[in-house]
């Protein structure tokens, strides 16, 4: 193995003079007394390797010894990942001792001794390749497939396969022979470099299944698909994290991978505390059982923050290869971009816009491209839906991270400061935001068949309603309440009904926080029929008062159990109010 010595230190950028070959992104360990600090090669010039250290470099000296590991940053993939809390390098945070993180403490991401009940899915003689399902174990409630390691290239024949029984992850469960007859042992754990996409699938078509999120401003206005990509840019405090947490709780997915990337530790603690308590309505289990958390909070080492999103993506890809639907959430990808910027600055690279590295757009689009819906080699499907939060500097959407992400992600959920200030949560701007999937024929077909024939038409109607409402509002503001026909007020208030009843949703209310699609359809019908009702008013003041009442009753419906007695009561009340002014 190549060795080296430290010759320079600038914060967490360390220059190492090496005595042999090194590769880009190779991992190395710097010896500092009894601790070993992990680092990654990010640039090589002649004999000098520039490495970013995943730890504080305090007390590091010129002359400290460095050992290169011969591989890139890798994660361990095998049963036991679900419900874990990892740092950005996949160290199990729960296995660390003491209240404070210790420099150079690296913990096992999986359990060496735990026995899993393994059931073979393939038999001796079968022809297999990377990603083929050899068997499965039950992890929490997920049938966790044990696959031919992704690093195996070409076709293999299964020589031997163990029988069903209890095994640890390190025991051999199968022996494969390659085309030259060489034998390879397979266990239940494999390693994979995080910066390289796992491609053990046949095909990646355009995604077309709607992913139900339970969040109305998404499902009922700009729906996202299973295997789709989206992002939520927004100034601080506008609700990115609340939205991500809501998605992680309610979205229709088999597994959730949450990458807390350079954000607040307290927000992760919220997940740690809540998820073991909250029920997953689909599995009847606790939410934590379908969740893996990668927590590299803002005070944890910057280089590991950069790695954390890749660690999360690789774990998601591993589970996608098992035919599962994964929702990957990253809060916030801007922190990852900033980590790149910090390093690029220290290396004195030629800066791009706002001092970000020149290749930022490429890095971002490359990452988003790892999401997607796939047909596996065995015909099964799997998906990674990725939604990233973006924290634009100064709330300005014209900054490099937002702009680069806009090119890469297909759904744009822009959080608006103005809506957040007036507590119109979730503060997703309904007019600025979009879902490109609404233009996909295969998605439209899916909506027609699986949601309803009217759904797309209703969405588009609602969008138009909102735009017209906004225009009317602007006119009213310019010309005054009296300066415009009553009709303008009516138009404005109809859009307000949609805003208050469909778009606004209280993330902290037990009932309102998640709305199943059946209920969304019901309310959509209701609201649209109200906006199409001919109502009679003499003055704008009447419109104003009347619609406040309508909105109030509809909101009470949102807070009630669907179709419950209370719900029906408010519905009847609504009918009464409508009668007062309906023109038949």
């Amino acid at each position: 193995m190549t060795k080296g010595t430290v010759t320079g230190i600038i914060a967490n950028l360390v220059i190492v003079e090496v005595d042999g070959p090194v590769s880009q992104n190779e991992i190395c360990f710097i010896q500092l007394g009894k601790t070993r600090l992990m680092a990654e090669v990010i640039k090589v010039i002649g004999k000098n390797a520039y490495v970013q250290v995943f730890e504080s470099t305090r007390n590091l000296r010129v002359g400290n010894l460095v050992e290169f590991a011969g591989h890139m940053l890798e994660v361990s993939l095998g049963p036991g990942i679900l419900s874990k809390n990892y740092d950005g390098l996949q160290n199990d945070l729960n296995k660390m001792e003491g209240v404070f993180l210790k420099r150079g403490e690296y913990t096992n991401p999986l359990e060496d001794d735990k026995k899993w009940h393994f059931k073979p899915l393939a038999k001796a003689g079968d022809l297999v390749e990377a990603g083929t399902w050899l068997g499965e174990v039950t992890e929490n409630w997920i049938p966790h497939k044990i696959m031919v390691p992704f690093k195996f290239q070409g076709k293999f024949t299964i020589k031997t396969m163990v029988s069903a029984g209890e095994y640890t992850i390190h025991e051999t469960i199968a022996v494969l022979s390659d085309s030259e007859g060489k034998e390879h042992k397979v266990t239940m754990v494999q390693k994979w470099p995080v910066k390289i996409a796992i491609r053990a699938y046949k095909e990646k078509p355009r995604p077309f299944n709607m992913m139900e999120t339970g969040i109305r401003c998404i499902d009922s206005l700009n729906p996202i698909v299973e295997g789709g990509t989206g992002f939520t840019p927004g100034p601080f405090g506008t609700g990115k994290t609340v939205l991500q947490h809501a998605l992680s709780k309610h979205a229709e997915a088999d597994m959730i991978v949450v990458a807390a990337c350079g954000e607040r530790a307290n927000e992760v603690v919220e997940i740690f505390t809540e998820f073991p308590e909250l029920d997953d309505p689909r599995s009847g289990r606790k939410l934590i059982e379908r969740t893996t958390i990668i927590a590299n909070t803002s005070n944890m080492p910057v280089a590991a923050r950069e790695a954390s999103v890749y660690t999360a993506m690789t774990i998601a890809e591993y589970y996608r290869s098992m035919g599962l639907r994964i929702l990957l959430l990253a809060d916030s990808t801007s922190r990852w971009a900033q980590a790149l910027r910090e390093m690029s600055n220290r290396m004195e690279e030629l800066p791009g816009q706002d001092a970000y590295p020149m290749d930022l757009p490429a890095i971002i689009s490359n990452f988003y491209s790892r999401a997607g819906y796939v047909y596996l080699n065995n015909g099964q499907t799997g998906s990674i839906t990725f939604i990233g939060a973006v924290s634009p500097a100064g709330g300005n959407l014209k900054e490099p991270v937002t702009e680069s992400t806009k090119k890469a992600a297909r759904c744009f959920y822009a959080l608006s400061q103005q809506r957040a200030d007036s507590k119109r949560y979730p503060a997703v701007d309904p007019i600025e935001s979009y879902s490109k999937y609404l233009e996909y024929d295969e998605f439209i077909e899916y909506l027609n068949e699986n949601v309803s024939k009217e759904w797309l038409g209703q969405l588009l109607f609602a969008k138009n309603l909102l735009i017209r409402g906004k225009e009317a509002y602007e006119q009213i503001n310019i010309l005054g309440d009296d300066g415009v026909p009553v009709d303008y007020h009516l138009r404005f208030w109809k859009s307000e009904v949609f805003d208050f009843v469909i778009l606004q949703q209280d993330a902290f209310d037990k009932i309102d926080s998640s709305t199943p699609i059946e209920r969304q359809k019901y309310m959509m019908d209701k609201v649209i029929s109200i906006t199409k009702t001919n109502l009679n008013f003499d003055s704008f003041e009447e419109v104003n008062k009347y619609f406040r009442r309508i909105i109030n009753v509809l909101k009470q419906m949102n807070y009630s159990v669907f179709l419950s007695e209370d719900f029906r009561k408010f519905e009847a009340e609504l009918e009464e109010i409508l009668k007062e002014r309906r023109i038949s």
């Binding site: 305090r58 350079g262 500097a393 007036s422 503001n477």
Partner: protein
């Protein structure tokens, strides 16, 4: 700080900038302290034998032949119970005439708490200021700044909050504090009989700016001692973090780093996060709460310093002069406490969340009405009521001179609702209206 006999003394400085010096030296550790011409300095860059140090006291008058002595350790603070009641400078040296503190030396800027070892912050801090308690409830373990223009009374409000917070220890980290403000804090704590609970680390406007970089870490190292070792609730006041960030940019610019937005170093976010993330609730009961001040220039929150701060802290408090009532209020629109949902309706009455939101929505309606008025349009009858409501709400609840309990603030708001609106206009869940609407309407 004394030099020891066996230490090598260097006397050939190769480069001097406003905040840094460079020289050739061997065997130096990163982050290590040194004395440069008697001034404390810290290693910030090592390339081969060329070592660059930031000189906290500034480099004015430093000669190329000045003596440089490396101290073989990173900056530290001696911690013990004796810290209580004492005033220190940025280096942790007493400035109150008292003796040096005995205790074990701890490196400042130490490691982060493992996130899985934290507890969810869930104890409300009652301040009596309804603009805070009702709309922006504070929680132990939270980090939150005042975003304030320099002319606003943020130091006063912060001192009131600190004294009412019932913390076991209050640690003041003063950066670029004017001498007057420093004396203000001393007096107000003294008058409240709280001096034995206070620990101060102060860098005044008279001290060199780069020294400020040590203040937050000093204050938080002391805080960690009391919160971890003694399970105490500790409140840390950091004022003014804008001056801290300015000091960061001085050093990074002197090191030829490429500045990002507003001439700030590209690492500003991480640098600030390292400080603010020290706020924590421990399962053992100890906690560190950070209340900071970030002064704005011309109210601009898109400037890199407040902007990065906002992305790190758990909300922010805005003060604003309400000309209608001629008082300073806690602005309900721009202020936010992210942790309030952990305590409202739990440490306070269960109608709290709905009352808070309804009042703010109505206050927003009043703001719209005001714009209408300013644009010369007639007001609707509803607008007039909203404006009247807003004036009373501002005076009775948002003003910083309000000092009432958590039940009273809710009851008073219900009274205002009933005085000006119908239940449908307020739009609160029916079960609460049935219970709390005055006169049982």
């Amino acid at each position: 700080m004394e030099t020891q006999a066996f230490q090598k003394i260097y006397t050939r400085i190769l480069q001097i900038t406003k905040a840094t010096i460079s020289l050739e030296a061997k065997g130096v550790g990163y982050d290590e302290l040194a004395l440069v011409g008697g001034r404390l300095a810290q290693v910030v860059k090592i390339i081969g034998d060329l070592v660059t140090l930031q000189v906290f006291g500034g480099t004015e008058g430093i000669s190329t032949s000045a003596e440089v002595v490396f101290l073989g350790k990173a900056p530290g603070l001696k911690v013990s119970d004796d810290l209580a009641g004492r005033f220190f400078n940025a280096y942790g040296e007493p400035i109150d005439g008292g003796p040096a503190v005995e205790g074990s030396e701890v490196e400042i800027g130490g490691p982060s708490v493992n996130p899985v070892q934290r507890k969810k912050p869930s104890n409300m801090i009652f301040t009596g200021i309804a603009g805070i308690d009702m709309n922006n409830s504070l929680v132990t373990g939270q980090k939150i700044p005042f975003f304030a223009d320099p002319d606003q009374p943020y130091n006063q409000v912060m001192a009131i909050v600190a004294l009412r917070a019932k913390a076991d220890k209050i640690i003041l980290g003063g950066m670029g504090l004017t001498n007057d403000d420093y004396l203000f804090y001393r007096n107000i704590f003294d008058n409240a009989g709280a001096l034995d609970r206070i620990i101060s680390f102060v860098n005044t406007t008279e001290d060199p700016p780069v020294e400020r970089l040590l203040i937050p870490d000093m204050a938080l190292t002391a805080a960690e001692y009391f919160a971890v070792e003694k399970n105490e609730t500790v409140l840390v006041l950091l004022t003014d973090m804008t001056l801290y960030a300015d000091a960061l940019s001085i050093v990074s610019n002197r090191m030829d780093q490429i500045p990002s937005k507003d001439s700030m170093p590209g690492s500003l976010y991480s640098d600030l996060a390292k400080i603010y993330e020290k706020a924590v609730q421990f399962p053992s009961g100890g906690s560190i709460t950070i209340i900071a001040v970030t002064t704005l220039s011309g109210g601009d929150i898109t400037h890199a310093i407040p902007d990065n701060t906002g992305y790190i802290t758990e909300g922010q408090l805005f003060l604003r002069r309400d000309t209608d009532i001629a008082k300073v209020i806690v602005d309900p629109f721009r202020s936010l406490s992210r942790l309030k949902q952990n305590v409202i309706g739990k440490d306070t009455r269960h109608d709290h969340a709905q009352v808070m939101n309804a009042a703010i929505k109505l206050y927003a309606e009043a703001a719209n009405a005001k714009t209408k008025l300013e644009n010369g349009f007639d007001l609707s009858e509803f607008d007039v009521r909203a404006l009247d409501f807003a004036r009373e709400y501002s005076n009775d609840l948002l003003a910083i001179d309000v000092n009432i309990g958590a039940v009273e603030m809710l009851d008073n708001t219900w009274k205002l609702f009933a005085k000006y609106f119908s239940p449908a206009e307020v739009g609160i869940k029916k079960e609460f209206v049935d219970k709390f609407w005055p006169n049982g309407k």
